[in-house]
Structures are given as C-alpha cells and as structure tokens.
Symmetry: C2
Subunit: 329 residues, 2 copies
Amino acid sequence: MSTLIFKQKPRIIGWYSVVGKKESEGPLGYTFSRIVKDEYFGEKTHEGSERKFFITAIQGAIQVAGVQPDIVFAGDLLNQIVSSSFAMRDIGLPYVGVYGACSTMALSLLTAATFLESGVIQTAVAVAGSHFATAERQYRTPLEFGNQRPPTAQWTVTGAGATVLSTKQKSRFAVTCGTIGRVVDYGVKDVNNMGAAMAPAAADTLMRHFKNTKTKPSDYDAIFSGDLGQIGEEALRDLLKEQGYDLGENYYDCGKLIYDASQKVDMGGSGCGCSAVTLNGFIMNKFRNGEYHKILFMATGALLSPTTSFQGESTPGIANAVVIEEVTE
Amino acid sequence: MSTLIFKQKPRIIGWYSVVGKKESEGPLGYTFSRIVKDEYFGEKTHEGSERKFFITAIQGAIQVAGVQPDIVFAGDLLNQIVSSSFAMRDIGLPYVGVYGACSTMALSLLTAATFLESGVIQTAVAVAGSHFATAERQYRTPLEFGNQRPPTAQWTVTGAGATVLSTKQKSRFAVTCGTIGRVVDYGVKDVNNMGAAMAPAAADTLMRHFKNTKTKPSDYDAIFSGDLGQIGEEALRDLLKEQGYDLGENYYDCGKLIYDASQKVDMGGSGCGCSAVTLNGFIMNKFRNGEYHKILFMATGALLSPTTSFQGESTPGIANAVVIEEVTE
C-alpha cells in the first residue's frame, strides 16, 4: 500500500521559513520567520542566493528545535538539485537528496518521517525551496531576455522552508500518515500551464489517500495543494467531484494563498518554495495558535525538464500527501 | 547516527541488469541479465533510450522477484531525473525520486531498505542507470561536437540495474546496514576528473562506517566503490591509509571492473549505471554462487551541475555505503 501509516508519530519540533521581498508583501507575509529583501542575498549569483535561502532555513529550523539532526532530507528545482547539495556542503550533516519537483516538501517530509518511523535515526530535517530568477532561467528564459508572461503562467516563490522531525523529543504536532504519489500524464505540453499538468496526479493521490485512510475531505480542518494555481485548483475540484468527493470550503492552494491578485502573478505562486514556506509559516503557525488540529498537506510536482519539452514530450505530474495533526499522548 | 542498522534485514528477492554493447564486451559482460546493442534501444533519442533501459530493468527485476512492489525508488543523472520520472509514467507504481549523482544506486537501496525497515511498506524496487550519450551531452559536449577526451576522463556506462527488496518474502541475501553520505568538497574544479572530487567523500563515508559498525576492511569479502576510476581509487587508498585503514586486496572499483583497458575508456567507467549494473550483475551473481557472504557496496557521486561549473564552483562529492550479506534465519 502506498499510504504510509506512522505508528511512532514523528513529532514536528521546529519549523522555519525564509522568503524574498515579493513574498513578504503578500497576504502570508506576516507568517514567515525571516524576510530577505535582496534577491541576491549578498551573493554574486541567483543560484548562490537560492543556496543561501536553503542554509538559512535549515540552520533556522535546527536552532528553533534545539537539537542536532541525524540526516537532512532536501530537494529543489535546479538541475542536479545543486541548491540542496551545495547547501549541505556548508551544513556538513548526512544528506539524502530527494526530487519530486514542486512536490518536494511533501516528499522530503514523508521520507524523513519514514526514516524516523524505522528507528534508524531519531531526528531529521526536511527542507525544500526555490528562487524566481533561477527557475525562470532554467525552465523558461533568463530574466534579461524580457519574455512576456502568458496568462496561464505562475510565479516561482523565492524562499525555503524547513521542518525538524523527531521521535526523541515531544511536541503537540505530528506527521501521522501520508500517501506517496504516482506519475500521471494527461498529455499537457504547455510549459506555461503547470497547474493543468499536475491536477490529474493530485486527484490520483487524494483519491487513493481518502480510500486507504477511510477519510473524506471534511475530516480535515484544511486541505492544501502546493501550487496548482487557479486553473489547476479548478481542475482538481472537478476531477474529485466526478469521483464523488467534494473538496468544499476547506481546500486551499498554497500558490493562491501566497500572493495577492494585485501582485501580478497571473495564476499564482509555484516552485518547491511555495508549499515549503506556506507549511513552515502560515500552516504551522495555525497549529501553534490552536486553529488547526488535523490537515492534509499535498504538494504537486511537474516532472518535466527543458530537454523533454524540446523533444516534444508532455509533462508528467506527481503529488505527495502528508497528514499533520495535533496529538495528545 | 548516520549509520542505519536494519533489524528487519530487508531481503534481496530479485535483481536485473540491462547494458549496452560496449558494456557487454567488457570483462563483466557475461554477468548482465540483458544486452541491448542498439544505443537508441529503438527510440528516437538517446534520452528515450535511457528511459527504456530503466523500464527494462524495473520490469525485469519485478519479474524475477515475482511480486508487485509497493514503491519504486529511482534516480538518474539527467536534469530533473527525467529518466526515472518518465519511466515511472509507464510503470505506474508509487515513486520516490532520489538523487545522489553516481551514488544513486546505493542511495535508492538505503532509502528503500529504510522504508521496509519501518514497516510502512513490504516490497520495494531500487533502481539507477545512465547512458553514455545523454551524460556527455548534458555534462560536457554532445557527441556530434567531437570533443577530445582528456586522459583523466571516465566513460559513462549505458545501462540500468534494479534490485527488489522485501520483508515479506525470504531469500538468503539481505541489506543489513548502511551509512548515509555527507557532502565533502576538497575544491576540485576539473569536470573531467570526477574521481579526485569524489575520493574525499568516499573516505569520509568509509571511515564513519567502519567506526560506527566497529568493522574493518578485512571483515568484508569485498568492498566496492562505484566509479572512482583509477585516480580516485588511488586517492581513496591513500586517504584511508592516513587514518590507519588498509583497504588491501579485496577493494574494487566498479568503474575499473566494467571495462577492459583495450576499450579506450581512460580512467574507467562512471555514471549511476556503472555501480547499478555491477551490483545487479557481477556482485549479486557472486552471492548466488556462494563466493560472497558479506560485502560493502559504496557508490560515490559528484554533485556538480553544468551551471555551477560555469559559475566557477568546485565539485562537491558524496558517498553512500550499503552492507549486503548472506543471512541464515
């Protein structure tokens, strides 16, 4: 079964989010741990900047948790996940690189939680992030090119979020289960319409999750998708309705939450960082404030590369879902 | 602790390797499950071919094992690990993408074994692979460019290897422990000398592994590195000698085993596929034949990207080590 049940209930003992200027000006701006207004973060390149967001998030979360982790689980959008790998050169801890495109925050959480569940380690950090300028350069065109954004485009979030999990230290919040995604491809070839490419994978994961856990949307205080954006969100609602599930009023897309319409981001936010900073800011703060007791966090990823797009391939999608809930024992 | 001890001893219930023409003509040619002489594997692109090697290895291993796995753990060298992701579109099973450059076979094995250890799943496939033509295009220059190979270069193996692990079905062979790598960077900037970049990480992992497990090189029938090649192998022997460990006669590098000197591969084989097919051919066959009872399989990876090289960054390395042994109970 691809739904993982964590009997040990790995606890969330620390979280940290660091974002750029634009994200700080959005509706969730007040929820982030740190704001960095310089898009270069004092580095010479945007790639160096993205790396520094990772280091800042990892170190920030470790400081909040107050314990040294055994392993860091990290991934990002850049080729060869260099933001994670180069950040880990500075962090110096053992490192498992994971890749699920924009679903990476959920994948790193699920992988970290499973390692804790197995008992082979006791503390782990899960981290993901992205940078607007590096993602544009790699997946579309460098910013200097001045390309016009099509109306279906999304805006890659600049920021990184990290979560510290532990089976040794207690906290009120735990990762209790989750569902690993399958690769689903409905044939979408428009690299500026990721929401449409990812929605079928999101629907596949959600339906398997609800069936395997015998839950329904209303069993959660909130359900979050990572960065489906407006088109993807509507597609997901429709796909689930066909299968008899009504996502209702408590379903949100991190990509829609993070920016305001006045910020000219078209369909909303995207990138690994979008769901990572929303989880490690807005969502976890709601838990701390007692507003949430059980949520479903599902991040979605488009598994394309520029090479596959140039070769005429469509965009496969994936979605990984994690249940976070308040526990008493 | 970054050394993972698997009490459940996940069993290896199937393995499969598929390689290209050059690999079939090397000293290990007789050990592979399948030979594909067409470098395009009937596809239009080398990228499509690499994907087909993955599909063939995964399906082959599943057929040998005779059980349907819960999750496939896969990774490769191409940007956004598209060979794994696109292969999984055809396989249709839940999928965890991992990335450790050429250390990926060891990383996918360790991750799969930990998921089994935790009890959340019972059967998993670990897979990795590479293709000479796609790796040259992405990391150096396309073959059509006709670039001259420097003498420190290695030859990327065309092939994929897959291992099926299970806690439900029995077999004589098990993954009993392993050590997760740390990112180590000694400042090597030559993209044609990966062996030198990876050797320090290999030494770091080996020394931690020996200390954490209280073992020494002679406790293993054989120790394999993934693709250090001749320069990297010598550097690793020297680095370990400084720390009081003599790797001795039972240490081999898969990159040196897989090709013959007459095949003009300079420092030897490389790529995720190098260690993946050697493990799922030569090494596991030795177990089956009773020649091996306990080995240490350590794959090494160079975590660079073309972008980081162009930006003047050095090449960080990583190494992941897995212990495979014969078990009686």
